[in-house]
């Protein structure tokens, strides 16, 4: 690894933490227990909801589902009808049913998997009214569910988890408040913001506003087909830095928010530490592998001094590309500034594993943290037993119901990945572009990305066929709501519990040892599931690559 790589990555991390910390504190103040403002009350009154009505977990979950099903239906309808609606300067026809279904689910689940080419498929109306709206509210849904879980941990002997409609409204406004300055900054770095369809011979449109929230809301659905590798979506090193930081900024900040909300900052620090312990090595391995290059290409006389440049924007080079690819898959963002399909096997392995872990290393806005907390509960359970007490986390006893739900929340997305990929190897093998182990990696990556609501694509796989559109659509739904429902069930069950007093006999959940245990649980439970399939994909690719050179 070059000094440049160390320096850029180090500075990037430092900058991330420096912004995330104060933002997290600020979010705690805004998202903490406070009454609706007059503006919010007004909005909610227009919608006809009582913002103060407390909801138990089942009611909360129902509200989440109703809202998101309706959201998906609207997105679907707008796509099918776009030809006869306004703001369609390019005159694009209706989106095919299977792709429209896939896209509707994709944007409702905060996945933003794109089975379509952005600028050549969707009208401005769909991009703005359907997709950008979903970019906000799907992320806000994640924050709302996270808040409900925090309330489960902090409240005692109640069944109220707060009110989803209020949480959703507040979270959307917060995202909006962060997205506006980021949009302006992006415009300053050269990202266009216009309602014209074509400018200077290139497709364009309201790019900056959509890019801001696609990055901040861990959405990832780009305005353009090649996403942030497009010179208008990501024109300069400044925009690249801003966009890549925006990927992780809210998920990282929410860790600090969490510490604040549970009234023990160390708990939040422990979570972000566990995330970094997984994130940093994967980035470093990726950087090392990309800079080492591909022996077969070097043998052909390709200059490898700048690392492995296939599929990369030369404006960004290997370092900025790997940082982005790791960040975008660690968070469930999925936006790209390079083609992951062309990465060296190990640099492609990192993103794949980060997704397969369940998008919990930073993860989606809100969803990353509640997913992480599922693993924390499992870690607490096993290590709690090891100290000879009924396990407890933040003063709440963790019993059968919590473990059952946590297991479901971890298990179902993994099941979707494995089953989806298995079916695809049988019925969808025709869609792969590259034979051999790499073809398998492409399939595995697609289902890992969809089932864990990442949305990034390895590429190489033709995914707009009916099989992939429908199968990945279903996986995305499972990966999102079959986690949200168990999380809310846990929140409900924790809220009803008493708070247990803390003593020297209590398992401390802020120590380096506990962080190590959480990481070990994630690696053992999360990764062991995928080791056999990874062995048939990127691992064997890597071994073949280095084997062939020796």
């Amino acid at each position: 690894m070059t000094a440049h790589a160390w320096l850029e990555f180090g500075a990037w991390l430092a900058l991330l933490l420096a912004v995330a910390w104060p933002l997290g504190e600020l979010l705690a103040r805004v998202l903490g227990e406070s009454a609706p403002t007059r503006f919010e009350r007004g909005l909610l009154r227009v919608a006809g909801v009582d913002a103060n009505a407390p909801m138990d977990w089942a009611t909360y979950a129902k509200a989440v589902l109703v809202f998101n099903v309706l959201g998906a239906l609207v997105v679907f309808a707008l796509q099918r009808l776009q030809a006869s609606l306004w703001l369609n300067p390019a005159g694009l026809p209706a989106v095919p049913t299977d792709v429209a279904f896939n896209t509707a689910v994709s944007f409702a689940t905060n996945t933003n998997w794109q089975a379509y080419g952005g600028e050549s498929t969707m009208s401005h109306l769909v991009q703005m009214a359907a997709l950008t709206t979903q970019n906000f509210v799907s992320a806000a849904t994640g924050i709302a569910v996270f808040l409900a879980l925090v309330r489960g941990l902090t409240r005692a002997q109640t069944d109220s988890l707060g009110n989803f409609w209020f949480d959703l409204t507040r979270s959307t406004l917060v995202l909006f408040a962060i997205a506006v300055p980021v949009t302006l900054l992006l415009m300053a770095t050269g990202v266009p913001q216009t309602l014209l369809g074509v400018s200077d011979g290139a497709s364009t449109g309201p790019v900056a506003s959509q890019v801001a929230i696609k990055q901040l809301g861990t959405n990832g659905g780009g305005f353009f087909n090649v996403n942030s590798a497009h010179p208008l979506e990501n024109p300069s090193p400044a925009s690249n830095l801003l966009e890549s930081l925006s990927i992780l900024i809210i998920p990282a900040a929410l860790c600090f928010t969490f510490g604040r909300l549970v009234k023990d900052r160390r708990q939040g620090l422990a979570l972000i530490a566990a995330m970094l312990v997984i994130f940093i090595p994967f980035t470093l391995v990726g950087l090392w592998s990309e800079q080492a290059g591909v022996p077969q290409l070097s043998a052909l006389g390709v200059d490898a001094s700048a690392g492995h440049l296939e599929g990369k924007e030369v404006r960004f080079g290997t370092v900025s590309s790997v940082i982005w690819s790791t960040a975008t898959t660690a968070a469930s963002n999925g936006s790209v500034n390079a083609m992951h399909d062309s990465f060296t096997p190990l640099a492609g392995l990192g993103p794949m594993v980060l997704m397969q872990l369940g998008e919990i290393v930073f993860g989606g806005v809100g969803s990353g943290l509640y997913g992480m907390l599922l693993y924390v509960l499992v870690a607490v359970f096993i290590s709690g037993l090891m100290v000879g007490r009924t396990p407890e986390y933040l003063g709440k006893k963790i019993e059968g119901r919590e473990i059952k739900m946590a297991a479901l929340g971890i298990l179902l997305p993994s099941a979707a990945v494995l089953v989806g990929a298995a079916v695809a190897t049988v019925v969808g093998a025709g869609a792969i572009a590259n034979p051999g182990a790499h073809g398998f990696s492409e399939i595995l990556y697609a289902f890992s990305s969809g089932s864990n609501n990442n949305g990034s694509a390895f590429g190489g796989l033709t995914v707009n066929g009916t099989f992939y559109a429908v199968a990945i659509g279903l996986c995305m739904w499972v990966g999102r709501f079959f986690v949200i429902i168990p999380v809310l069930a846990i929140a409900g069950s924790l809220a009803s519990r008493k708070k247990v007093a803390i003593s020297a006999g209590t398992l401390p959940t802020h120590t380096p040892l506990f962080v190590a245990l959480v990481v070990a649980t994630i690696v053992l439970v999360g990764a062991l599931t995928f080791i056999p399939s990874l062995a048939l994909g990127p691992i064997v690719e890597h071994l073949q690559m280095i084997g062939a050179s020796s």
Binding site: V378, F381, I382, S383, L385, M386, V387, G388, R389, T390, G395, I398, E399, G400, I403, A407, L408, I410, L411, S414, L418, V419, A421, A422, T425, V426, A429, P435, G436, A437, G439, F440, K499, V500, A501, S503, A504, G505, T506, L507, P508, T511, L513, L517, A520, L524, V525, L528, T529, F530, I531, P532, S533, A535, L536, I539, V540, L543, Q544, G547
Partner: protein
């Protein structure tokens, strides 16, 4: 039942019975209750069929010898797990058999009404109902649990407690409870039966130690769920591997698809069989350890709760201090000699048979006063009553009394006098030192104070310090005044105390702790302890206590030793720790098994994966066999640990965690590598791989 002596881990009779039971337990209706081992059993059956198919058709899944060898070891895995459970149960059964001998059907006299003189009929003890009255005479067994309503007798309870010295049982008071199966040695008892047939204490005890009606505890259920979830995850990971492998073979154009046998082997190696196989043994063994400590719990839940307890309410007398207070000093009032005080104190105590009274006589002797006979002095003894709270003698017009300061003050006031300020000061000073002051008065004159000292048990302070390090608060309960209580509390090193405790105050204290999120354990014996016992999370009733106390508690201590509470907490913690540590160990093992099986499974398709075979195993078949054999043998190797429990030294949670993570987590990652290698070398040397 000499339950206090530890049974050796492997008695040959027990082992024999356990071996037979391991086969009986193969019944799938039983196995299905343990999802992890059920999956192994299904896998064993499946590979057996594959093996037979290969043997007959000669072109089955893969070589018949290999399939059958894997299959055999999978069966061993199931049997070893069954053996562990059977061993744990066997140890309980042996104890139950001993208890059963005490539960014989006896002929007993059922009375028409609750007096000795009532008419009776001879009936079998089996038909006695709750509320019946029976007459039990010397040499006869008490037919069922009950309460003495008439009479007083010495009873041999060794069948239950293992304690050979007979105990007194009498009507009224705190010693009225009798247990079925114990023998009346002298006098007679009229007993009102308090348990329906089949639900007596002895019955409960038998079913408890046998584990017959053992229902899973909350933590055990939660762990079961986690293990089942892991099993499903690994089931998916291995089942999908077949199409993945087929795809890989198709793409690579070389090799063969991974065989079903290898997939089953991989599955069994990955799912947490070690903990799955030992889980119920750990639970049964935990209960067994409790029985060996002579404590009977009404449920496994109670044992588990004991591990969670973080506040112990301990009675001062008998737990923290030795039962008896000793007179240590005579402190006379101004103008009174020590000798006069000693003389009066001795007179007042001559007929007082309490240990305190006797210690006063002994102390007076040290002042040169010999014991005298009340009869010679023509004195009449005035016993202690709850109203006067004094005792003493009346002789030759003198009224000599001793009692608590306020009682004597009242006595003096009746005679128009008051307690002198100097004596009051001594009383306060004595109390501050943790001793109990007794004021002695002769008529209207206060002579001085006898200092009764509480003797704190040796080693108890260290024990409390240990508990504190484990995060457990100790609270001393005493009837003493706050000053005395504070001094003893400081000397014994308890965290908190409740002085002048009444049953209501105890109850309030427990509720108070519970609302602050603590789990409270206490011991009790009297009927007035029953509400507090019912409220406490872990309530240990003394076997000598009343029926009400026993029913309110969730454990009964047969030795009636209040210090036992601490041991119970340790046993509860140890059981949870053993489960947690073996779970960690079981999951950590998977890493090595991957390194053994993955390269072996795909060696023909992708030879490059050979690099992952870091153990350099003999051949793909030997690699798979070694992993499977290790997986089976580790269960057997850990049976002693499961039965004995892991070492649970008192320490703060953070320290315990570090230790167990190092031993069972890190150890679990590392250990399988050399073990699998050794098995592989052995297989190679035997020429079977």
């Amino acid at each position: 039942m000499s339950a206090t002596t530890a049974r050796p881990l492997f008695e040959s009779a027990l082992v024999k019975r356990a071996v037979v039971d391991s086969f009986k337990k193969l019944d799938p209706r039983r196995m299905v209750k343990n999802p992890v081992m059920f999956v192994v059993e299904v896998g064993s059956l499946f590979t057996t069929i594959l093996g037979l198919h290969a043997l007959i058709t000669h072109h089955g899944d893969t070589s018949a010898a290999f399939v059958l060898a894997v299959s055999a070891w999978l069966w061993f895995t199931v049997l070893f797990a069954n053996f562990a459970e059977a061993m744990a149960e066997g140890r309980g059964k042996a104890q139950a058999d001993a208890l059963r001998k005490a539960r014989q059907d006896v002929q007993t006299r059922r009375l028409a009404s609750a007096t000795r003189g009532a008419t009776f009929e001879k009936v079998s003890s089996a038909i006695l109902k709750k509320g019946d009255h029976v007459l039990v005479e010397p040499g006869e067994l008490i037919p069922a649990d009950g309460e003495v309503v008439e009479g007083m007798a010495s009873v041999d309870e060794s069948a239950i407690t293992g304690e050979s010295a007979p105990v007194i049982r009498e009507s009224g008071g705190d010693r009225s409870a009798v247990t079925g199966g114990t023998r009346v040695l002298s006098d007679f008892l009229v007993v009102r039966i308090s348990a329906e047939p089949g639900q007596t204490f002895l019955d409960r005890m038998i079913s408890m130690v046998e584990g017959a009606k053992r229902s899973k505890t909350p933590n055990e259920l939660a762990l079961d769920i986690l293990l089942a979830a892991l099993t499903i995850v690994f089931l998916l990971a291995t089942v999908t591997l077949r199409p993945f492998s087929a795809f890989a073979v198709n793409q690579a154009g070389s090799g063969t698809v991974v065989s079903l046998t290898v997939l089953v082997a991989l599955l069994v190696c990955l799912i947490p069989t070690t903990i799955g196989g030992l889980l119920s043994a750990i639970g049964i063994a935990g209960m067994d350890r409790l029985v060996q400590a002579n404590v009977i719990a009404t449920s496994g839940r109670a044992v588990e709760a004991a591990g969670d307890v973080d506040v112990l309410l301990l009675d001062k007398t008998g737990t923290i201090t030795l039962g008896n207070r000793q007179a240590s000093d005579f402190i006379p009032a101004p103008g009174v000699t020590v000798k006069d005080l000693a003389d009066a104190a001795q007179l007042a105590s001559l007929a007082d048979e309490t240990p305190e009274g006797r210690s006063i006589v002994v102390l007076a002797k040290q002042h040169g006063l010999r014991g005298r006979e009340l009869a010679e002095l023509q004195a009449t003894f005035v016993p202690f009553t709850a109203q006067t709270r004094m005792s003493g003698v009346d002789l030759q017009g003198r009224q000599v009394r001793k009692g608590a300061a306020d009682a004597i003050a009242k006595f003096l006031e009746e005679k128009g006098q008051s307690l002198p300020a100097a004596v009051r000061d001594v009383v306060v000073e004595t109390a501050k030192q943790g001793a109990t002051p007794l004021v002695v008065a002769d008529g209207a004159k206060a002579l001085g104070v006898v200092k009764l000292k509480d003797v704190v048990k040796g080693g108890i302070k260290e024990k409390f310090a240990e508990l504190r390090r484990m995060g457990i608060r100790t609270v001393m309960i005493t009837g003493d005044n706050p000053l005395t209580a504070a001094a003893i509390a400081a000397e014994a090193g308890v965290d908190d105390f409740l002085a002048e405790a009444t049953p209501e105050q105890k109850l309030t204290k427990i509720r108070d702790y519970q609302t602050r999120g603590h789990l409270v354990a206490m011991t009790g014996d009297g009927t007035n302890d029953a509400p507090a016992l019912a409220q406490a999370d872990v309530a240990v009733a003394m076997n000598t206590g009343t029926q009400a106390a026993k029913e309110a508690g969730n454990m009964v201590d047969l030795d009636s030793n209040p210090t036992k509470l601490i041991r119970i907490v340790e046993i509860g913690k140890q059981m949870l720790m053993t489960r947690g540590s073996l779970t960690t160990f079981s999951i950590a093992n998977d890493i090595a098994k991957y390194f053994a099986i993955i390269p072996a499974a795909f060696a023909t398709t992708y030879p490059a994966l050979k690099v992952l075979d870091i153990m350099r195993l003999h051949s793909p078949t030997s690699a798979v066999m070694s992993a499977v054999i290790f997986n089976a043998l580790i269960i057997v190797a850990l049976i002693p640990l499961a039965l004995r429990g892991i070492s649970a030294k008192p320490a703060p949670a953070a320290q315990v965690l570090t230790r167990n993570v190092l031993i069972y987590g890190l150890g679990g990652v590392v250990l399988p590598f050399p073990c699998i290698k050794i098995i592989d070398l052995t297989l190679g040397a035997l020429g079977v791989a």
